[in-house]
Amino acid sequence: EPEVTQTPSHQVTQMGQEVILHCVPISNHLYFYWYRQILGQKVEFLVSFYNNEISEKSEIFDDQFSVERPDGSNFTLKIRSTKLEDSAMYFCASSEQGSSYNEQFFGPGTRLTVL
C-alpha cells in the first residue's frame, strides 16, 4: 500500500541553525501539507501546497519557514533559523484532491529537537 515517507526520523540541531525536513508524498496525490505537534499538544496546520505553490499557511508559518517541491517526488520544509520553540514532531501529509471529503495520508513524522 502506498505511504508517505519522511526523513530523518529524528533531527537534533542547535538554536539558530537551518534544518530541512524531507517528505515523499504518495505519487498520484496533488495536495501536500505540513503539520506540527508540540509534545502533549494537538496537531496544528502549518502550510498547504498545490500546483507548485503555497495555497494556504497558518500564522505559525512565518518568514523562517519555507517549503519546496524540488522534483517530482520530494516535498521539503525548511526552517531557516531554528528556535527552541520549534521543537516538535513535524508531519507531512498528502491527499489525492483538496476536497473536505478527502482523507489525508500522514507520514511517520520527524522529531525535531532544538537545543
Binding site: Y31, V43, F45, E56, A93, S100, Y101, E103, F106, G109
Partner: protein, 112 residues
C-alpha cells in the same frame, strides 16, 4: 475561530466493552467530519469520515454519529481490544485546500 473539543481525560475501559468518544465543535458547521487514530510518536491514520447528512457511519467495529444540531460527533468502538489503545482525533477540513483542524484527542486505554 473554529474550535474542536474532545474529552481531554483518558478513557479507560475493559476489553470487550464499547468505548464512546465525544467530539464537539463550535462556530462553523462542517460538511464532513473525520476521525483519525494516532499511536505514540506516529502520524495520524485516517479511520472514518461522516457527511453532515449522514446520521451514522460504520466500518467493522467502528461507528461514528454526527449530530449537526448538537454540533457533536460520537465515535464508538465495539468489542474493544487492547490493540485499540491509542489517541483518537476528530478533525474537520477548512479553507481553500481543506487543511485539517484537529481536536486535542482522547487517549483510550483498553485493559485486558
Amino acid at each position: 475561530s473554529q474550535k474542536i473539543e474532545q474529552n481531554s481525560e483518558a478513557l479507560n475501559i475493559q476489553e470487550g466493552k464499547t468505548a464512546t468518544l465525544t467530539c464537539n465543535y463550535t462556530n462553523y458547521s462542517p460538511a464532513y467530519l473525520q476521525w483519525y487514530r494516532q499511536d505514540p510518536g506516529r502520524g495520524p491514520v485516517f479511520l472514518l469520515l461522516i457527511r453532515e447528512n449522514e446520521k451514522e457511519k460504520r466500518k467493522e467495529r467502528l461507528k461514528v454519529t454526527f449530530d449537526t444540531t448538537l454540533k457533536q460527533s460520537l465515535f464508538h468502538i465495539t468489542a474493544s481490544q487492547p490493540a485499540d489503545s491509542a489517541t483518537y482525533l476528530c478533525a474537520l477540513a477548512r479553507g481553500a485546500t481543506n487543511k485539517l483542524i484537529f481536536g486535542t484527542g482522547t487517549l483510550l486505554a483498553v485493559q485486558p
